[in-house]
Amino acid sequence: MSVSLDPPLATVRQSAVTARTVFTAGLVVVLALVPVYALATGETFGVALFTRTVILAIGAVSLNLIMGYGGMVSFGHAAYLGIGGYAVGILAKEGIGSGFVQWPAAVAASALYALVVGALSLRTRGVYFIMITLAFAQMIYYVAIGLDRYGGDDGLTIYKRSDFAGLIDLNNKIVFYYLCFAILLASIFVIARQVNSRFGLALRGTRSNERRMRAIGFPTFRYKLVAFVISGALCGLAGALLANHTSFISPAIMHWTRSGDLIVMVVLGGLGSLFGPVIGAVIFLLLQEGLSRVTEYPDLILGPILLLVAIYVHGGIGGLLEGRRRG
């Protein structure tokens, strides 16, 4: 038999100019130009919608690290949005307005929570793992409802956006949008390096065949746990951004359906591809927004669309653009 010329699939695919590459590049350009369009037309609503989209895309990117590359389906990822958001909100209410304190606190609290949840849940797998991550997220959800001092069920208004000592002004919507966009691109870049590093290969090997990984000498648990914590920390940062964006935080931010939305974004865009979650987030949120303008029940249309993608398109929308990946 001759040497196969197939490129190693496991190398993150970026080489050939496929429909997917073109689409991804186009999407990045569009996202980069959103404020320009808004300034030119005076239509500012778009900026708010896309800021939200970019922030949730960061959350989806973080989930993709553990779900797409690590095979861990966390059904409680919205909890990190909440923890990051509440870190900002609570500190703001207590008079600590500095972003240099708020944001690291958001990241650290999320990482700590991920460490605890991961240490307990990563010993299980499959549906048990899904249920445990969900259970923890529900717990945090009800804890937030119980925070009377911070608005309880009604939530908490954040009167001032995080203050970065004049370095960057988050009150400027355009500046804030580009900050979120830059954080999104930076996280994708960092994850791109990660998934091809030793750590990334250990993680992906574990997803592929954990039993074999242990047999060849990998203590798989600790690699999964570290990935879980990185993912949680990044999603916590997204939570801090979201709280700044809406100037409001309430338990609804971590309702379990929001965790479901994040999973849908990742699956829709294509599991385990770098820009897939961004594609998924944009399509999901724009569809949701668009449909809610024409119908009172957007989910009635959105649901079947998602179902069709899940059933028929291997690799999500990204896979569809690639010509529906073989296999």
Partner: protein, 258 residues
């Protein structure tokens, strides 16, 4: 035997009412090829599980080169130099052949908390992986995805992955499983080239292969080792003939050999 590489004592594991490993006393000397034979249900798979760490014994000890390993998890045993292959091929199917072996090398080159450098460009991982592939004759398939390999090639890759970490003991769980006669012969040839450079504990159904390769045999029946010794001695052992070689399938082929 003080100079044994692997020694088990009273190794016992029960599943409900079945004693799958019954006070197993097994000694594997350095550099030998030691084969375990036994009829179906004799406890061979349990024994492999006990030695590799996937099954925890209820009693007994496992000494690997003076280290007690009965309580160590799977990955620690691998770190000590105990490598195994799987009866049912167990590979990273969506990775290339070289990636599979390089991952086995990586496991033994320090921790993997390295987040930045592209591991696929690390010569320290690729070079030993390639040489392991050469040893099993798979180097020209290095860039192929595993799920495109033939069954025989996947079995070869199993061996390459076990070899890649430079193990001191190879635990081979039916390396000829599911192979045709040609592929089997090639595997016997491959294992023969390893003889003398690494200690091998071989579990195998194919009697022809066993008698062609093994320096010593142990016969496992109902979780007990009923005989241990050189192949000729085992073949003429009356207890073995009655308990094992007298049986239908294994018996016919066993007698053919003898």
């Amino acid at each position: 035997m003080a100079d044994a590489l692997l020694q088990t004592e009273r190794l016992t594991r029960r599943f409900g009412g079945v004693t799958a490993a019954d006070a197993v006393a097994l000694t594997v000397a350095p550099k030998e090829v030691h084969a375990i034979i036994g009829p179906n249900g004799a406890g061979k798979t349990t024994l492999i599980g006990l030695l590799s760490g996937e099954i925890v014994p209820q009693e007994g000890s496992i000494r690997f080169d003076d280290t007690e390993i009965a309580d160590l998890p799977v990955h620690r045993r691998s770190q000590l130099g105990l490598a195994r292959s799987f009866q049912i091929t167990s590979l990273f199917r969506d990775f290339t052949v070289l990636d599979n072996v390089a991952l086995a090398v990586q496991a033994h080159r320090g921790h993997s908390f390295r987040f930045w450098r592209d591991a696929r460009h690390e010569q320290a991982l690729r070079a030993p992986a390639l040489s392991a592939l050469e040893r099993v004759g798979l180097h020209d398939r290095a860039a192929t995805r595993v799920d495109r390999l033939s069954h025989g090639e996947q079995r070869q890759l199993e061996i390459a992955m076990a070899l890649a970490s430079g193990p001191r003991l190879l635990l081979l769980d039916e390396p000829m499983a599911g192979m045709g006669p040609d592929e089997s012969a090639r595997m016997v040839h491959l294992l023969r080239t390893l003889k003398g450079s690494v200690t091998i504990l071989l579990i195998e159904h194919d009697m022809e292969a066993v008698f062609a390769l093994a320096d010593r045999l142990s016969v496992l029946v109902y979780g007990r080792i009923i005989a241990s010794g050189a192949p000729e001695a085992i073949r003429s052992d009356p207890a073995v003939r009655q308990a094992y070689l007298g049986e239908k399938d294994g018996g016919a082929r066993g007698r053919q050999d003898g």
